[in-house]
Symmetry: C2
Subunit: 374 residues, 2 copies
């Protein structure tokens, strides 16, 4: 068991939205309207791939046929379907180091072999990707989070996106692009999706796109989705059927009402305005107190930044001290398949208030300086 947090603990650990980010009033109306207008369909069982009109909305948004969209109760279960289907007979997955910890867990459960490519301040190690993609036996997929990466907050440059796509096409490598945070852009310029570039390069059959409305609207709806190559649709529908018959159609209809009400784009602007002062407060304190002592990312959006401390610091040990001092974060080691990153940490700025972030960051930098002085 972990140490009990002190009263008034400020959490940089929880990668979840603040309740102040939810569009309560608009969703309350959408929730009612969807039952009234679509209830006879959305209250029943239905297609394993989800609520038809939402699949159409998503297909139009991504420029694909709606039947290539599978809506799942959150995107994790969709990623679990990807892993269960592709690694049912074993095989190798390429993931970033670091990467989303639950996918590391899913690959381990499935018994997949995992190879890693470093994600650092210099970008993705695409030379290593090229080497791995040419390997024999051929890796079954590359799993990447190109935009506002979890845990680092980094965004892949356009040049690297193009290079990644060229490697995938050359080596016929399936790319799973996970994008739960992409719509939460605070500043900087939107990059094209990797799956869009793959399509342009004739590699549409090599792209799986995973996303979700958990970060852009509300996780309690549990609406995630996959855009699949055509040949994977039928096996994924079969997986969905035998896992849960059909997904919860009602929250999908409620979400669609919200999306079509004209509230979505303004809400994304609200989220950017909500996250900006939180990210900035955290960066300001790190800049003021830790320059030259540690390194951290400067995310253009999403929930996370990534802190790298000198090699002799162990963030798992530091976190135990931190909790006693009234703050918490996620030690970075869990985001590495195969044990590295002992000196790294993920800091989430989505949950605490600006005041809490200022106070929490102050506690954090004091603790780090104290640790480094020892």
């Amino acid at each position: 068991m972990s140490v009990l947090p002190a009263p008034g603990t400020i959490s940089f650990a929880r990668g979840i939205p603040s309740p102040d980010m939810f569009p309560i009033d608009a969703l309350a109306q959408s929730a009612r309207r969807a039952v009234e207008n679509a209830g006879r369909v959305a209250l029943n069982y239905g297609p394993p791939a989800g609520f038809g009109p939402l699949r159409e909305w998503l297909g139009a948004r991504h420029g694909v046929a709606p039947d290539r969209v599978i809506v799942t109760p959150g995107s994790l279960i969709g990623l679990n379907f990807v892993v269960a289907h592709l690694f049912r007979d074993g095989g190798t997955a390429i993931v970033e180091a670091p990467t989303y910890d639950r996918v590391i867990g899913a690959l381990a459960t499935a018994g997949a072999d995992v190879a890693t490519i470093d994600n650092t301040a210099d970008g993705l190690d695409l030379d290593r990707l090229r080497e791995l993609a040419a390997g024999n036996p051929k890796p079954k997929l590359l799993y990447v989070l190109p935009t506002f990466h979890n845990p680092t907050g980094r965004t892949l440059t356009l040049a690297q996106r193009h290079e990644l796509v060229a490697i995938a096409v050359e080596h016929d490598l399936l790319v799973v692009e996970d994008d739960p945070y992409g719509l939460l852009r605070i500043d900087g310029e939107r990059q094209p999706y990797v799956h869009e570039l793959l399509r342009d390069a004739g590699g549409e059959h090599l792209a799986i796109f995973a996303s979700s409305f958990s970060k852009s609207v509300a996780p309690g709806l549990r609406v995630g989705y996959l855009v699949l190559p055509e040949e994977l649709v039928a096996p994924f529908e079969a997986l969905a059927t035998r896992t849960y018959v059909s997904p919860p159609l009602l929250p999908q209809a409620q979400l669609l009402d919200f999306l079509e009400s004209g509230s979505f784009e303004p809400h994304l602007e609200f989220l950017a305005a909500f996250l900006r002062p939180r990210r900035d407060a955290l960066l300001e304190r790190l800049d003021a107190d830790l320059s030259g002592l540690a390194e951290w990312t400067r995310p253009e959006g999403g929930y996370f930044l990534w802190l790298e401390l000198p090699a002799h610091v162990d963030t798992t040990e530091l976190n135990a001290t931190a909790v006693a001092a009234g703050i918490s974060f996620v030690p970075g080691a869990g985001f590495f398949a195969g044990g590295r990153g002992h000196n790294t940490a993920r800091l989430s700025f989505s949950f605490p208030s600006v005041d809490e972030i200022e106070e929490g960051a102050h506690r954090l930098t004091a603790l780090v300086r104290e640790t480094l002085d020892r």
Copy 2:
């Protein structure tokens, strides 16, 4: 692919509610109120076992601590957790013949060995259960649907419930009681749950209860639940976390608002009144046209009745003819682990209207008589 149904096909196949069974107006209000009153919690991520206040409501209803209740997105995924957890290292499951086809599928996927006990007009074959329960290695569980059984519509007598419980306690056999239809009683007297009798007999640790609001309120909410022995709670929470982080909390909060609004009990009475003329119309036609030629059950509730034709009739072949004649049903063979029941069929009376049932039953009995005359 199956034969395309004729236009105007009347389906006795679909085990789903008619949209006329949904309490649209009350749910529309509950949907809105839950967002307004509980949205700050229910729109977020939360406990893997579901929305706390709904777990409390269910715990109170079943007389157990709320933390023994795991709310899942539909009950099938909960049953899949049971199978995945208990058969991760193989083992034997005892199921009824016939039984719910998706559980047969889940056990097959898990690689479990399956032993069967007959469910017939004489009840469950409890002598066979006693024999199997004493087997070595010990079976890991007995899976039963004691009330308005799927596919037969039968209900286990009180005497057989007591005997089943005595066998389970004597042989330390885990009993999974699946009860999706129990609240849909049209007539007859309510029987105590098997897990209640197990508790009374000192076998509380031997009971898993699975149920759902898919039949009593609406499947599009996807709210199912398990009541677990204490020692299974932590592993099932871990399974839920790695499958979907947390389940859709919003529809759980919306359902709870409905349950607490005073609309639930009247709605159950409405459902009984809705199903009664449908069941009766089907029985009347069978009584009038097929007496002495076939046998069928007389369910006191639920969605299904079970038709047994003479041994030389193959219902899979008959169904192909039936579809061309404008009706459909589910051939019974799929409900038997290991291929029997070729002359049986499940008829659902929940989806068509009374008029459709009268017309469809007329088509069905004509077809059966024609087949028997050949």
